[in-house]
């Protein structure tokens, strides 16, 4: 087993041996021959391919339906660690929602000077169309995905917030299914908190924000851009699990500010739309007129209070990378609490002082586009060549407002099956937080793993993989469940 020296926090192994939560995993890895792991890895791939859990990549040549590599070694979080995280996530999402209600309402945080006005009001993510309206239930980011990284036993950082249409939750659920099918005995030896309730919780959340006109059983749908979207599988999966329709723009129409879907029995009224298309494409009458995947008149119906949209248009202002440094301030301002989750120190190149520091320390920093996503267009200073750094130097000077920078974090590692054997690889974590009448979080999330040695980029579009994430009810292995529930047999 190769063990490169690195300062990163190894989640399985500490200086004084294997950590308690990983004890059983470590025993299992030692007892399992490499061929067996390889075979299970292949089985997993076959499983994902058969169920059709793929993400679509069109226009790059090659197979348009790709598998995200799945690593069969689970990532473990102890219940005590999770409780702390979870409290921090609830707090953060409450603050983000309060911020959204505020910037589209009374704008108190701006008037108090706690966040610079232009940063919000002149931001592309700020939707004028949302000013002065209160969405049903007062909720803006019904489904939030908060990306976390870990650097030490009790040290978690929020890397970024995703308040628009975060994806990946289907992998959280399917990865667990895969593990239960591939390693039932290993699973049985742990007390793993189940995640399978997520779709039910999501449906409850969506129903909770239905307009009053909807009555006792609101009609909920998922709006997808269609089969060519990279997350199409997830849209269908969630609809299926919730027992609701997955619709495309053309399946919906608006009449007298009420949204209907076309069904075999004629038009049917729709009350809540969990939309998985971007703001700009929602309604060609309000946003991009060339949108073919949207629904003309949708925003008028929304503003009239006849339909709920989740997440609310304009929620993206809360996860803008330039707004991110102010989230701890939001927690203090709206909740009067100290933030439980730390932000990564962030330099806004727009600010002269920050910019100077960034340009002088490019070899130590990660530089990101303020509006980019998916790990595109970023510079990882310590791993970059002199030329790459020079290029970013020039780009930052040319358009400082486009860039932010953060110190390179030593992301924690988990044991991962790689070609040379089992080796530590860097991971992050995206838990999903649901906000309706209350905040709900299932214990777990999507763990993404950078499969290349030393790489810190976990995005699936950049060669990252996923792992099942186990929140363990206690740190030791569960007692074997013996002699229970024998199956009945004839005779």
């Amino acid at each position: 087993m190769s063990q490169p020296r690195t300062s990163a926090y190894d989640e399985m192994r500490g200086e004084d041996g294997v950590r308690a939560a990983y004890a059983e995993i470590e025993r299992w890895l030692r007892a399992t021959p490499r061929e067996h792991l390889d075979r299970k890895k292949q089985e997993a791939e076959l499983l994902f391919r058969r169920i059709g859990i793929t993400f679509a990549v069109y226009g790059e040549g090659g197979d348009p339906e790709r598998l995200i590599p799945f690593d069969i070694i689970p990532r473990i979080i102890a219940r005590s660690e999770w409780e702390k995280l979870s409290a921090g996530l609830r707090q953060r999402v409450r603050a983000l929602n309060a911020f959204l209600a505020d910037v589209y309402g009374r704008q108190e945080i701006l008037r108090a000077g706690r966040i610079p006005k232009p940063l919000v009001l002149e931001n592309e993510g700020y939707r004028q169309e949302m000013v002065g309206m209160v969405p049903p239930g007062g909720v803006y980011t019904h489904v939030a995905g908060i990306d976390m990284v870990r650097t030490a036993p009790a040290e978690f950082y929020v890397l970024e917030d995703n308040c628009r249409t975060p994806s990946g939750v289907s992998y959280m659920l399917e990865n667990r299914e895969a593990m239960l099918r591939l390693f039932p005995r290993l699973c049985a030896r742990h007390r793993i908190c189940p995640v399978g309730r997520y779709p039910e919780e999501l449906l409850e959340t969506l129903k909770a924000v239905a307009p009053a006109s909807a009555g006792a059983s609101p009609t909920v749908v998922i709006l997808t851009p269609g089969p060519y979207n990279s997350a199409y599988y997830e849209h269908c999966f969630l609809a299926d699990e919730m027992g609701v329709e997955v619709v495309e723009g053309a399946d919906l129409f608006v009449q007298d500010k009420v949204v209907f879907m076309r069904t075999t029995a004629g038009p049917k009224r729709v009350d809540v739309i969990y939309r998985r298309i971007d703001d700009e494409f929602l309604d060609p009458e309000v946003f991009r007129p060339d949108s073919l995947v949207g629904v003309p008149g949708l925003m008028a119906a929304y503003r009239a209070g006849n339909v709920a949209l989740a997440n609310a248009p304009g929620a993206g202002i809360a996860d803008d990378k330039a707004i991110y440094p102010y989230v701890p301030e939001m927690v203090r301002f709206y909740l009067g609490e100290e933030p439980l989750l730390a932000n990564v120190p962030t330099f806004l190149c727009e600010r002269e002082e920050d910019r100077k520091y960034v340009l002088d320390n490019l070899d130590k920093l990660v530089v990101k586009l303020a509006k980019g996503s998916g790990g595109y267009g970023m510079l990882i200073g310590p791993h970059a060549t002199r030329d790459q750094r020079a290029e970013f130097h020039a780009r930052i000077l040319a358009r400082p407002g486009d860039y932010i920078a953060q110190p390179t974090l030593a992301l924690s590692t988990c044991p991962t099956v790689v070609e040379q054997g089992i080796a530590p690889r860097h991971v992050d974590l995206r838990p999903f937080i649901l906000s309706g009448k209350e905040i709900r979080i299932v214990p777990g999330g999507l763990t993404r793993v950078a499969l290349k040695e030393g790489s810190l980029v976990v995005n699936s579009s950049q060669g990252g993989g996923t792992k099942d994430t186990w929140v363990l009810d206690d740190e030791g292995p569960a007692a074997a469940l013996l002699g229970q529930a024998q199956a009945q047999a004839q005779g």
Binding site: R49, R50, I51, G52, G226, P227, Y233, C236, F237, A239, D240, E245, V246, V247, E248, A250, D251, M261, R262, T263, T264, A265, G266
Partner: protein, 312 residues
């Protein structure tokens, strides 16, 4: 149910059934070509199959003559033939993918596994002695899909639209299959044709044994036609297919509080005509005329179903 979903379910079932029917047709034709080579009319077999599959014009644009190789390639691989086995699977899967939520996991896996296998298929798989294995495999996949639907689907509208697609396609196939051989089935033809030709017709709808069970007698053209058109016992007879189409449309109407349209009237009429029809009358009218009439009305019925439930 979403109109788009109903449309996709209807078509994924039609394409799946069509792939199976093409495989059945190919299996019979290749068997016939093997036994009728001594009669020197093997080309006729392939030509008849092309006509039955309804893609003769497209074939003629691309290929010189209906040789075995050309017809097999056209009916298995050719992307220009929307009724070929691989394009049918592809279209079925495309529709299935668009309505994943309306399918059960078993149905999806039956289609998706089939497509994953077929898309990597090498030309050798359809050559020479490999062909029967391939065709058997295709029929298995279609049977698996139908079985999965039968065993796992909720009996709701989704199920009804799948059955409509399967049965309408099957009716069309049985009618075409008989029609291309209608000359062999006229009473005057009796004795002039090889017995194996009649066997072939029956084999194509898995009915050779069934014939014996029902009639307990030697093969006679009029009875073969009766079996495939009018007998309620044979699951691929026109009567069986139209009975289910009519019942299914009625079930959808009842589920929607009695909402009915032209498709219901048309299906009921076709069902009644078959249920109370007599084979003597059909032969008196002319088998070919009767069958082409049925094919046209089945197409019209498909159009009316779309008009009422999908575009309406």
């Amino acid at each position: 149910m979403l109109s788009r979903t109903a449309d996709s379910l209807f078509w994924l079932a039609r394409y799946t059934e069509r792939a199976g029917n093409v495989a059945r047709g190919l299996a019979v034709a290749s068997r016939m070509a093997a036994v009728s080579a001594r009669l020197g009319d093997e080309v006729e077999e392939w030509r008849a199959l092309l006509t039955a599959s309804g893609g003769e014009a497209g074939f003629r644009r691309k290929y010189e003559a209906p040789t075995a190789e050309a017809v097999i390639h056209w009916l298995v691989f050719d992307p220009d033939n929307p009724s070929g086995i691989i394009p049918c699977f592809e279209a079925a899967r495309r529709n299935a993918r668009a309505v994943r939520t309306a399918l059960t996991v078993d149905m999806w896996e039956a289609l998706n596994d089939g497509w994953n296998h077929l898309r990597k298929l090498q030309p050798e798989a359809a050559e020479g002695d490999n062909l029967p294995d391939l065709l058997g495999w295709v029929r298995e996949r279609v049977t698996l899909f139908n079985g999965a639907a039968h065993e796992t689907m909720l009996r709701d509208e989704a199920w009804h639209f799948v059955r409509l697609g399967t049965m309408l396609e099957r009716a069309d196939n049985s009618a075409r299959l008989l029609d291309v051989r209608h000359k062999l089935l006229t009473p005057e033809a009796e004795g002039a044709v090889d017995y194996v030709q009649w066997q072939a017709v029956l084999r194509a709808v898995s009915a050779l044994r069934s014939y014996q069970w029902i009639y307990r007698d030697r093969l006679q053209p009029q009875r073969i036609a009766e079996l495939l058109i009018l007998r309620p016992e044979l699951p691929r007879s026109l009567l069986s297919c139209l009975a289910e189409v009519s019942d299914t449309l009625e079930a959808i109407a009842v589920g929607q509080g009695g909402r009915r349209g032209e498709c219901h009237r048309l299906a009921g009429g076709m069902h009644a005509q078959l249920r109370y029809g007599r084979i003597e009358a059909i032969f008196a009218q002319g088998l070919h005329e009767f069958l082409t009439g049925m094919i046209a009305r089945a197409a019209e019925l498909g159009g009316e179903i779309e008009e009422f439930y999908i575009r309406g």
